[in-house]
Symmetry: D3
Subunit: 158 residues, 6 copies
């Protein structure tokens, strides 16, 4: 099998999807950010009384998912029909876990959109908390699930 983004002489091209059919597609990506105690607590409080880191990150993630084709050179423009960002807090590991679910009806999958949504949401958490922790780490960004299109349903466990 070959890398699909290069033509025979090895030059970058967009994959030609002209002859593919439009199907309903879904992609779910996940990732997390490891923070220190102080940030972890600030984020928890943030969701109630103070500011809301995760609300800001949610919006940033959705907006970035819509712009994936502007960021990733060989991505096609995709009309995202649904984008959802969810966060879970893992108290033991002081991690904030992010899930981005993207749905579309199109000729190509939405996995890059879901992955870009997760990445940007986590970068936004980083940005809003970096005054309190200069050593956070974004971890384990991967495609958790995908359906629709030629390769069918894929589920990646972690």
């Amino acid at each position: 099998m070959e890398l699909t983004h290069f033509d025979k002489s090895g030059k970058a091209v967009m994959v030609d999807i002209t002859d593919k059919e439009e199907t309903k597609r879904i992609a779910v990506a996940k990732g997390k950010i490891k923070v220190n105690d102080e940030v972890y607590d600030a984020i928890q409080k943030g969701t109630s009384a103070k500011g809301d880191v995760l609300a800001t990150a949610t919006i940033a993630g959705i907006m970035a998912a819509k712009k994936t084709w502007e960021l990733i050179p060989m991505c096609h423009i995709l009309k995202i029909e649904s984008c959802k960002i969810d966060f879970e807090s893992d108290e033991t590991n002081k991690q904030i876990c992010c899930t981005c679910t993207v749905k579309t009806t199109g000729k190509t999958g939405a996995e890059m959109e879901a992955l870009t949504g997760v990445s940007t949401a986590l970068l936004t958490v980083y940005d809003m908390c970096k005054a309190l922790d200069k050593n956070m780490e974004i971890e384990q960004i991967y495609l958790a699930e995908k359906d629709g299109g030629k390769s069918g349903r894929i589920v990646n466990e972690r």
Copy 2:
């Protein structure tokens, strides 16, 4: 200490940098992507004869670093004066390691730009190789080094 992106009532604001001084600043971010053998080999060959995944990822990373302020809601517009993306291949672990170094002269640091550059470069590697591996993982994105500005030099080891 407090989260800096919220005002007293907890609402998101951009940090006010009006009264800060312009200084030379540098930020270095790192991250990696874990791939399967087939992708690892394709990328290695890509840097010589065939297409070049890492060349495409380099350009995507640089272009995204310049757009950080469009992606991360509370980031200031920053005139990046230098941006460099480097890749190293870790054969043992089948990982492609990415470093993004950003320099600027400004009132605020360039760490988000470096982190966004790394993230987008790695997402581009993902996009270009996803036909060969549906289970890649982007890992360990962090700020390796930072200098300039009030908080001075910070080095994070891994």
Copy 3:
């Protein structure tokens, strides 16, 4: 009835339009800007001999309508199929009245595109005339008419 942009726990999401049908849709938004005599006259002359404030505002409005999904966080990408900006001058009240008509074939309406087109056109008038009047006011931006889609034809009179 509930706000449609929030899920059950109250977090912002894009409305899921996957299962909606594509229909022809039209939206007409209106708004106006109140200016002083000097600006009013300059704009009138501008349409003949001098520069043309309204030509510039027309183009800005159309370009912004196309970018609505980039500006309004929960808006879907919409392939606008027609966008028209019209201005009328109300001599008595020294107001410039703007109408933006957007057509599309899609799963969601074009009212935000029409409203964004009007807003940006009026902001452009403001920008180009602000040397002559530091106290202009943008007024009465509303959806005048809408058709297509589940809620059918809506007409708002003023």
Copy 4:
């Protein structure tokens, strides 16, 4: 006095600011949106337990203020150094009032940035509430205050 965005033959140009001096500048713009009772109540509740219309609108307003130069044809790129969006609720009139305060150090004022921030924040409120009220109106967008630069301090009362 003449419209500043046109040259002698009447063609649109950016005002040449090469020879102006960088000064600290501030601009405050205001605007409001008139909603029905149902929306008014939903927004009030939204700020506590449920979703948060105003949090989303705040972020949209800040992000749009940074992109003003992309939207308004003759605007210069401005490095915004501070942007703040505030909302007040006027129960009697069922209006949500928005204030956007922008600061910068530059050769040109930030009034268009403040006005674009207000407009986009109000459009976002509109978008998020339009399922509940098809007849909202955005009203009275104006420059409340401005300081710095050649024309000095300007205060517009309403």
Copy 5:
């Protein structure tokens, strides 16, 4: 026949494509850049050992083709389904010749996308070589071929 982008009173509008049918469309645009000997040789070497001017220009061209609707005021948003940039080197005339092929399924043609892809690719060659030659020239950008849509197949020879 009339200019299609203006309405009866002469004001700019987007052409209304609501009632057109979606068809498969292809557009091929060409252009070239005339460089001095030093640049010509650097580019040739660049494709093997050193840096790769043409790889960078290829990516820039593809990314710009996707953004055509943002750059050209009256262009519709088009979901590009394939975009390919090819370069040929003309040793005799020291010219780098660029071809951009765009495919889409839509209501309007892709010629502006192909032309924007070529223009931006050539501008990128210019940018990357301008230290070696301050007198390059971009030449002969034209639509070489077009098919699909009402006007059928068009071939322009040079």
Copy 6:
């Protein structure tokens, strides 16, 4: 001399301008478009009574010049302080000639901004006239003049 956009191993980088001084800079680029008689006449009339192709192209050129750094991968963000687009009509050759003049105060020159302004203005003319002429050609885009910065004043005659 070497291509400046590649590091020692040949990989694309932004030129590091951290240590350069801010100076006043000007760049003037020129280009033209060859059209048929019908288009030539329509454009001439357009500047008086009907629509105005050149007014639209002027605005598109200025807006694109501001976005040069988004389009050309290795370009730095530049705060353009003045941008002017001029057209001349060459009746004998049925050519529309475009000049774009950009001024800035910065660490790097504005030639790419001026060239991007010209290219986009000419592409806009193409777009607006393509219904009347399917064989137009954009020609002779070059840097006519440049001043400021290390390499001093450069004038290219044609």
